[in-house]
Subunit: 245 residues, 2 copies
């Protein structure tokens, strides 16, 4: 954090010198106890682009590319250089004039913003086809998640392991949640039990849901976050586009 902090102190000095009344910089980055915090209200549009940046930068890393300008990055992603710089500026200063961005460094910064370095703990509730598919194929570690356990009601899967993850009885959920930290629950259960299960889990303290039930789940507690995946919405969007091209 040291060099970034130095940069900001310098910039503030510049502002004072030029007798700027504009205080946007102060609004954006609050210096608190020596650490630099980011802008308060990040728009949803920006947040949704962060994973795309992360994906692109990971790809660039793999291709061995060391540095990139906002212009080239924009070209690769089909967005403007302005938007990229505007987006990044919500979180800090990651580039260098005349040079651009160091790919590896920028990837790491955005990964940090997304929380991939926080070792979040995750369990899966519902181990049907979709649950199996995710456990077997989804790169949880690469997104900063450790999968600790899975739960189901079916005797056929209880007691087995899927890709090294033990499957327990859904009856043991309460006990498990009391004894283990769980940041996110993946809901891959039938629609009919979705809201009830979610309510029960919220009551047990779960604050994050990755929801595949095709139902809009929600909670009155704003600290409980739902990320809903709506397969049908996605396919219908495609249906619209092929029906109206």
């Amino acid at each position: 954090m040291k060099p970034l902090q130095k940069k900001i102190v310098k910039k503030i000095d510049n502002l004072r010198k030029r007798e700027y009344t504009n205080c946007k910089l102060f609004n954006k980055k609050r210096l608190m106890g020596g650490t630099v915090l980011k802008k308060e209200n990040i728009s949803d549009a920006v947040i949704r682009r962060l994973p795309r940046y992360y994906r692109q930068l990971t790809d660039l890393c793999a291709r061995g590319i060391v540095r990139i300008s906002s212009h080239s990055l924009g070209n690769e992603m089909g967005i403007t250089a302005s938007q990229i710089r505007q987006d990044f500026s919500c979180f800090g200063e990651f580039g260098q004039q005349g040079y651009g961005y160091n790919v590896e460094e920028l990837r790491s910064e955005i990964g940090h913003i997304l929380g991939v370095d926080q070792d979040h703990h995750l369990i899966m509730v519902g181990v049907g086809h979709l649950g199996h598919a995710l456990l077997q194929n989804f790169p949880f570690p690469q997104t900063g998640f450790t999968v600790n356990a899975a739960f189901d009601v079916s005797e056929a899967v209880i007691g087995t392991t899927v890709n090294g993850i033990p499957v327990y009885s859904a009856q043991d959920l309460d006990t498990y949640l009391q004894q283990n930290r769980v940041d996110v629950v993946v809901l891959t259960i039938p629609q009919s039990v979705a809201q009830d299960t979610a309510d029960r889990l919220v009551a047990l303290g779960v604050r994050g849901f990755w929801n595949f039930t095709n139902m809009e789940l929600s909670s009155s507690d704003p600290d409980v976050k739902f990320e809903n995946i709506h397969f049908a919405d996605s396919l219908l969007t495609l249906s619209y586009r092929i029906a109206n091209r």
Copy 2:
């Protein structure tokens, strides 16, 4: 279409009477051969809301609700009545002053806009866990799709049927596509073969892809539509929210 047409003729008369120079109505609904076509450029934001409307209206139907106002619908969905009316007005006039909207009628209109009544034909390429999950659980018929066949390279699944859908060898894809209409291909194959397979299928005439490979696929032909599902982007968005609440 008759009563709608009458409405528009009347409205145009009104405009003339009041000596409006504003021609927005003409831009919006082109009368062609007696049928009313919709506005040309529908924004992505509007299109992405259409499936949500459809989902909500299906639910209202199931609950036996006959009519609804934009205000109540907005309340249920957490959006403004203004936005709802603005959205619908891109496609026509589906309501009645003083009454609101007939739920069943509106559902059917939006379904029609989305193309659920077009009987699109779909095949799946890649029958792993995710393919199985979709074939078993996804309500293709409700979204207007008929699943005709699935393809894979693995001897273990070739020749089997999944939920009534026959699984053929991927070697037979070319022949199949030459002999059958296919509107959409579901791509549930490994990332490593994604772009190559997509290119091959585009060359064979496929114009719609529901892409689960976690890769950004694209084609130079603007008529080829890709709907990409990015599981990782979704989970990272959730990661951001729980890391920054």
